[in-house]
Symmetry: C2
Subunit: 157 residues, 2 copies
């Protein structure tokens, strides 16, 4: 189909990684600006707060697993949240390498604020989609996720 010197046609708009990246960045920015404006939280901070609020007490490593962020990012987000008094940190009695995270008083207050906003944002986004579309989207994302894991093992061409 392609002679040696003819490069096949290629449209960025139709390239999945590109579309994914553009839309995701727009969503993230819109999302981040609200949390930044209301509570001065970055996305990594927001995520840490969300999982600590839901699963405390837990270790930084556990936060990594649940948020899919690397440990450096988590470490820095935690450090700032502790400095701001939103999170408390205590050494695990059994394993002194581990530092268990939990919400402080202020953290509880903020958590109670961020969850409703998250639900509202999700609802607004989901509002653009039918229930079918939403679950189809989530499902497609799961499949892509699995596929990428394979890709990493089996480089193409």
């Amino acid at each position: 189909m392609t002679s040696p010197e003819t490069t096949p046609a290629f449209d960025l708009e139709d390239f999945l990684p590109y579309r994914l990246s553009v839309v995701t960045n727009r969503v993230s920015r819109a999302f981040a600006s609200r949390y930044e404006a209301a509570w001065g939280l970055s996305i990594p901070e927001w995520r840490v707060l969300a999982v600590v609020g839901a699963f405390a007490p837990l270790s930084a490593a556990a936060v990594c697993e649940r948020t899919a962020m690397d440990k450096v990012k988590v470490s820095r987000a935690v450090a700032r949240l502790v400095r701001r008094g939103l999170l408390t940190r205590r050494r695990d009695a059994g394993d002194h390498r581990v530092r268990l995270l939990a919400l402080g008083d202020e953290g509880r207050r903020v958590y109670a604020g961020i969850v409703p906003l998250a639900l509202a944002i999700d609802a607004a986004l989901t509002g653009a989609l039918s229930q079918r579309e939403r679950s189809g989207l989530l499902q497609a994302l799961d499949k892509l996720d699995a596929c990428v894991a394979d890709l990493d093992d089996t480089p193409p061409a």
Copy 2:
């Protein structure tokens, strides 16, 4: 529905911006590592090369529009590509502010290599999805995109 002190349940895994972000980052990383390994190209550089290859000659501003990257990012990507000899830059005869971009000889060679890899990657990802799912996914992304634009105008809550 929620008494004053009860924060509603919230699962990150089900939160659209989060899922989007995690999957996209994984896809981008997998994607970027290939182009980095094979040609030493970053994602911004890759994108610039892709649109210049398809639409040359064009201005940096035109590249911005087509890639959805901001002008600083484009400027820096272009600078590096020019330094490496992949891109040529000449002032527009009619408007001396504009610098028209085109592929250099080496750029043409690289372009001929990156497009097939892009098609292969897209095919691999799409392979995880049925044709239906793929178009559903792209369509859902378009809707989200439109929705985010609205969101920015009408802050919720």
